[in-house]
């Protein structure tokens, strides 16, 4: 089973993912913004990161850029997720995809879709 870092500032949503993923057998660590996510990334060295985009201080996009910079040290996979917000005309998930995330899920998404994505990425 995989070591997964979940990053979302919505505490309640973060908890629901953590509980589900643990129930299906993963090892889950939670962060509540991008900054915390980056420091846990170094400590935990997860196999996979599931990150929200819109967050205070360091947001998901900045987090993704940070991970991509240090990809040689931590070759982890990233799934971006967002509730479909946008700044100006740009869609967050499209921006995340452009930054090189492995998959993008639009909230609300089903757990089957999440599991399938995890399975594919960690195969």
């Amino acid at each position: 089973m995989a070591k997964i870092l979940v990053i979302d500032d919505d505490v309640s949503f973060n908890d629901s993912l953590k509980q589900y993923l643990e129930y299906v057998g993963h090892n889950v660590v939670c962060a509540f913004d991008g900054k915390q996510g980056l420091s846990l990334l170094v400590q935990v060295k997860p196999d996979l990161v599931i990150t929200d985009i819109v967050m205070p201080s360091v947001d998901g996009l900045q987090f993704i850029m940070g991970v991509k910079d240090s990809i040689t040290i931590f070759p982890c996979r990233i799934i971006a997720m967002s509730g479909g917000g946008r700044i100006g005309g740009a869609n967050y998930l499209e921006m995340a995809t452009a930054l090189g995330v492995d998959d993008a899920l639009e909230k609300p998404f089903g757990m089957a879709a999440l599991e399938k994505s995890i399975e594919t990425l960690l195969a």
Binding site: D10, S12, F13, D15, S16, L17, Q19, Y20, Y23, V24, V54, P56, M81, S82, G83, G84, G85, R86, I87, E106, K107, P108, F109, G110, M111, A112
Partner: protein, 488 residues
């Protein structure tokens, strides 16, 4: 020359009309000063020549024909005729010739009084042109116009637009009295028109609603002007009626207000989507999780299932709250549901729709809300519209700003409660700050704002006997202040 002859000659030569006298063969005998001025010949140049030299070549035959009946019938009383004269320099001009014939002892002479018609012709022609233009204007004006004459208000003129409005043809009106053409309107219109004539005071821009006989099911909104045109002869006193059908305009205006609301929704829609998708995401995750537990465990962990269901309920409440707030955009009719509310509660409620958008745009929101403020008596959904509008404007002003700070304050002064919305944007220039409440005025880019938000807000606050003011220092943000009277 006798004294009488001399006197006559002096009189003739000094008369202001041009006078020419010639014999039956047309030989000119007398050519007075005014004639010299008119034709450019001197007396000595023309005496003894044929009168024809004074007439344009083309008209010479006509002139001779014109003389004929005189010569044949011996008629003495002058007849007028229009001819074209020719000056010594060859230039032509219209003239009026009044000719009379006199039989002396041994000859017959013709006396002609010549008048230059140039000016008359010009003013005639000008009048015709004006009439023609006026016809074209009246016919094509999308505004109804009629001229009603005399004590019975007979239609002297009516244009197509007004005839259409009355559901009749132009011909159905002309020459007929108002009461006969529009029997349904006579009680309403005729006393008004009499008043306009009697007092000489026009009716200017009067708005009213009327059901017309050609479409009795729906009322039309009209604006009219009734302008008296007095005449010494009361039979010719007239009223100029101008009527505009504003029914479509009224519909268009309310549609515009709707589109302003829609534009506001569009501006915060992405924030709303995010705000609603967040709880939906959780609801879906928890539901999937619960399903999995029920599938996997025979004797399932009740506490875990219950936790998930609770979280689902909380998520649903969260989404519902946001959707409920959308009613501030959907309410069209003014229900005027006034009640006592705490303004701070209302300020917080106004943030529900914008909270997420502000967060997305990294706006630093500071709330400085005074504690234990007295309540205000208001239609709170409409006041929420106003506050939401001010917050949304502040958000827009901060979009291109380096420092994105929004301060919302509430406080009490005397008998009023105040709410201030201040942004750290670039401010509104002094030259236009006075216009921000004008309908259709906007400082936003084309397509970004309708220019109606603040004007609607202003009238909402006015209806609540409050005030809405704007203060801005160039380069130092803008502050809008609402004041509302304390509920008694």
């Amino acid at each position: 020359m006798s004294e009488a002859e001399q006197r006559l000659e002096t009189i003739i030569s000094t008369m202001s009309d041009a006078i020419i006298i010639f014999d039956e063969k047309g030989m000119l005998e007398t050519f007075n000063l005014a004639a010299e001025r008119m034709f450019g010949y001197s007396h000595s140049e023309v005496v003894g020549l044929n009168v024809n030299i004074l007439i344009a070549e083309l008209h010479r035959g006509k002139h001779e024909e014109y003389l004929k009946p005189y010569q044949e019938s011996g008629e003495k009383i002058g007849t007028r005729g229009e001819l074209v004269g020719q000056r010594k320099d060859g230039t032509l001009f219209p003239l009026d010739l009044a000719l009379s014939e006199a039989h002396l002892v041994n000859q017959t002479i013709f006396t002609g009084i010549v008048r230059n018609l140039t000016e008359c012709k010009q003013s005639d022609e000008a009048l015709q042109r004006i009439t023609r233009y006026l016809d074209v204007i009246l016919r094509n004006l999308p505004v109804g116009v009629a001229i009603l004459e005399g004590p019975e208000f007979h239609y002297f003129r009516i244009n197509q637009a007004l005839a259409n409005l009355n559901g009749l043809s132009v011909e159905d009106h002309l020459g007929r009295p108002l009461a006969e053409v529009l029997p349904h309107a006579k009680e309403m219109i005729i006393p008004e028109l009499n008043k306009v004539i009697d007092t000489g005071c026009p009716i200017l821009h009067r708005e009213f609603s009327i059901r017309l006989p050609n479409n009795p099911d729906s009322a039309v909104n009209l604006v009219d002007w009734q302008i008296p045109v007095p005449n010494k002869d009361p039979k010719l006193s007239a009223v100029v009626s101008i009527v505009v059908d504003t029914t479509q305009l009224t519909v268009a205006q309310s549609m515009l207000v709707e589109s302003a609301k829609l534009a506001a929704i569009g501006q915060i829609a992405s924030g709303l989507a995010h705000e609603i998708n967040q709880p939906l995401g959780e609801i879906k995750a928890r539901a999937d999780f619960t399903k999995l537990i029920l599938e996997q465990e025979l004797d399932f962990n009740k506490e875990k299932v219950s936790d998930n269901l609770n979280a689902i309920t909380v998520g649903i409440d969260r989404a519902t709250k946001i959707i409920k707030h959308l009613r501030i955009f959907s309410r069209q009719e003014r229900l005027n549901e006034y009640e006592k509310v705490d303004i701070n509660w209302l300020v917080n409620e106004s943030f529900v729709l914008l909270h997420e958008t502000m967060r997305l745009e990294r706006i630093d929101v500071k709330k400085e809300l005074a504690e234990s403020l007295p309540q205000v008596f208001c239609d709170y959904i409409r006041i929420e519209q106003v506050i939401t509008n001010l917050l949304s404007n502040a958000k827009d002003a901060l979009q291109v700003s380096d420092v994105k700070q929004l301060v919302v304050r509430s406080y009490q002064r005397d008998d009023n409660v105040f709410v201030e919305v201040k942004d750290s944007g670039k401010g509104i220039p002094k030259a236009v700050i006075g216009k921000v409440f004008d309908p259709f005025f906007t400082t936003k880019a084309v397509g970004q704002g309708t220019g109606l938000g603040l004007s609607i807000s202003y009238s909402i606050i006015q209806e609540h006997s409050g005030t809405l003011t704007a203060y801005s220092k160039d380069g130092d943000g803008t502050c809008f202040t609402i004041s509302l009277p304390i509920a008694k």
